[in-house]
């Protein structure tokens, strides 16, 4: 099947940017889903050993990609220990 696609691409080279953009878009979507699955502290994969992963992050840990009006370096732990 890849051979057919390669043959068609050689006769219509204008299709190459199409593949690049569609491929790039698909890669970005998959990467975002992977980040959400693996890096999001709300997602608990191992309920026995790590049941509440959001409790294991620093008080100034930034998960969002862009921050607006929020200085994460100034945050400190402000909950009492027990």
């Amino acid at each position: 099947m890849l051979a057919t696609v390669a043959k068609q691409l050689r006769s219509h080279p204008a299709l190459i940017p199409l593949f690049l953009f569609i491929g790039g878009g698909a890669t970005m979507s998959v990467m975002y889903l992977a980040r959400l699955a693996l890096k999001n502290p709300e997602c608990s994969w191992d309920r026995k050993n790590n049941p509440e992963p959001w409790n294991n992050i620093e008080p100034n840990h930034q998960y969002k990609l862009f921050k607006v009006n929020m200085d994460y370096s100034k945050l400190k732990k402000d909950r009492p220990d027990f």
């Binding site: 509440e52 959001w54 009492p80 027990f82």
Partner: protein
């Protein structure tokens, strides 16, 4: 440490920003503080210490949680059917 906590509890206005829950959906923030309040009470009473620092968690969850949820959970705790781990 205890004096600093009492100061904070006295000057409490509302729940502070919690980096664990940065998004608009604060359900988990509410639930976690409710759990932390009960866990703190349990841990400090078994250690024989004063449970007044736990008031912080109670103030936070009272600010965040809808009253109906708090009443439902308190009812479940009394019945013994609360699903969370305390």
């Amino acid at each position: 440490m205890a004096e600093a906590v009492e100061e904070k509890i006295k000057n409490y206005r509302t729940a502070p920003f919690d980096a664990r829950f940065p998004n608009t959906n604060q359900t988990r923030n509410c639930y976690q503080n409710f759990l932390d309040y009960h866990r703190c009470n349990k841990a400090l009473t078994t250690k024989g210490q004063d449970t007044s620092p736990c008031e912080w968690y109670q103030k936070v969850y009272k600010s965040l949680c809808p009253m109906s949820w708090v009443e439902k959970w308190n009812g479940q705790i009394e019945d013994g059917s609360f699903p969370g781990k305390i």
